[in-house]
């Protein structure tokens, strides 16, 4: 079973929910839980888990490699490239690798067979294991623009025989789409504030577009107003659990302690969440 955790707005508690759910599940069936940190721009799960991680894969993209002895500078490759990753000058070709999406079109169409492929590392996949949880995290290299190839590589590590939990990046653009696509359930974590509600609405549209079933987790319950509740009720969206607003949670989190470990009452809420998740059909 694949559960993704997303939010729209950043800082609503996705990582706290994903890690707490993983820990709760692992305490009853160690070794049957996989956690994938798909926020490859800013992965944080392991700050709460403290595993020692090992790099198990470099994520590579194929980018054009121009053989200038064969190239006649006709410019067809640059005309074709929709990403402006190639520029052909009267006697030179410039390749802007970080703009290349790796479609392979230039290699296919070059009339002189002057374009080969070389690979470029855009990120890494790391692995660790502790407390009955297997963790994979993706890490996008600094200065790289495109997170999706790293997320795709990360998702190839999924073992859907187990409970797989995917921690998404915030927002509603391509990295989020890539993360939640194909999940059996998406938990949308929000907070009861105007920003939380506005971004929840966007996240709901993404989940609906991808036809992924979803439910809402209200974090910092009590901090704002009742508009998130009212909206969910109107839209018939289930609010699965609420995590009360507390400075204690924020303090534990700041030290890297998963609040579900430090606060007994919260532990019970995640047991409840796990029950709902596992009973989801």
């Amino acid at each position: 079973m694949i559960i993704s955790v997303a939010s729209g707005k950043g800082g609503t508690g996705k990582t706290t929910v994903a890690v707490s759910l993983a820990l709760t599940a692992a305490s009853s069936r160690p070794g049957r839980v996989q956690l994938l940190d798909c926020d490859v721009e800013e992965p944080n799960c392991n700050l709460l888990l403290g595993m020692s991680l090992e790099t198990v894969e470099e994520v590579k993209l194929g980018v054009p490699d121009i053989d200038k002895a064969k190239c006649n500078f006709c410019g067809k490759c640059a005309d074709f490239c929709n990403y402006h990753a190639l520029a052909v000058l009267p006697s030179d070709v410039m390749v802007f690798s970080e703009l290349c999406h790796g479609c392979g079109g230039c290699m296919l169409l070059c009339p002189n067979g002057a374009i080969g492929e070389k690979t470029r590392t855009v990120g890494t996949i790391q692995h660790g294991q502790k407390d009955g949880i297997e963790l994979y995290q993706g890490l996008l290299n600094i200065g790289e623009a495109v997170a999706v190839p790293v997320i795709k590589a990360l998702k190839r590590k999924m073992d859907s025989e187990r409970l797989v939990i995917l921690d998404s990046s915030p927002g509603a653009a391509c990295p989020v789409v890539e993360t939640i696509r194909g999940s059996d359930l998406c938990l949308l974590v929000t907070e009861p504030t105007p920003f939380g509600l506005h971004d929840l609405k966007i996240a709901v549209q993404v989940a609906r577009k991808l036809k992924v079933p979803f439910g809402v987790v209200i974090n910092r319950d009590g901090i704002g107003d009742g508009r998130v509740d009212d909206w969910c009720k109107n839209e018939k969206i289930p609010v699965i659990i609420r995590v009360p607003n507390s400075l204690e949670v924020a303090r534990l989190y700041s030290k890297g302690i998963p609040p579900a470990i430090g606060i007994p009452d919260l532990k019970e809420r995640f047991v409840e969440l796990l029950k709902v998740v596992e009973g989801w059909t």
């Binding site: 721009e41 200065g143 971004d199 303090r251």
Partner: protein
Amino acid sequence: MSGGTHIKQLTVISGKGGTGKTTLVAAFASLAKNAVLADCDVDAADLHLILKPEILERQDFTGLRQAEIDGQKCTGCGKCREHCHFGAIGEDFLVIQDRCEGCGVCRLVCPAGAVRLEERKAGEAYLSRMRFGPMSHAELEPGGEASGKLVSLVIANARKLAVKEGRGLIIIDGPPGTGCPVIASIGGSDLALVITEPSLSGIHDMERVLAVCEHFRVPAAVCINKHDINDTNTCAIEIWCKSKGLDVVGKIPYAEVTTRAMIAGKTVIEFDEGGIGRDVAALWSKVLGHLGS
């Protein structure tokens, strides 16, 4: 400052989401005398909820093109599927829209001429006016591609507004993360103000986004929000910044009044001038110092 000279650009980023970027940018709008506001968090834009702009001009944003296969012409040879690196050609040769990156390889290899590449609306950009002046913002279609391209459009629109109205500063509310929309947001900025919080993830994400600033040679300064949540970590951030030659330009305490201001649709300067507003005003004057204004 006059509009004819260099228009300065301040981008507020954080790495980690939810550290308070938008709350602080809205407050800066209250305090700035001569600025254009730009919301570059295009896939989860919230600044308009506080600044309530009146939209004066709308522009359609077309992101990446999308392949379309004409079922009448398609012979089902499978060349498109074989060559598509994105797995975007589905069953029955229908294009899976949210996988297609618009590269055109399918059109290149199709022997039947059955593929067209279509421009597709992927969002809207807005030129607006709000109570503190002009504002440029946008809305990416949920799940949309090319957010970096839309960010560049929002900044170009902000520059247009700045020139037209003789404003000398663009204040950008940036997106979280380190990827394409962040890179597009900090490009050409005179200062990246990184808002962090004293949590382990706040620190980790700040360090990464500061590395992105360094990579693209954008000068940076740091503000610690909710500093009193963890004094030890706040101290660690200050020591680390000092060792890197980075200025900590502000420390803002944790305050639930910021949520009440948000619910009231007001900036913290309008809502709590004598309280947290004073800390934010002190931050703003240091930021102006960094911008040389």
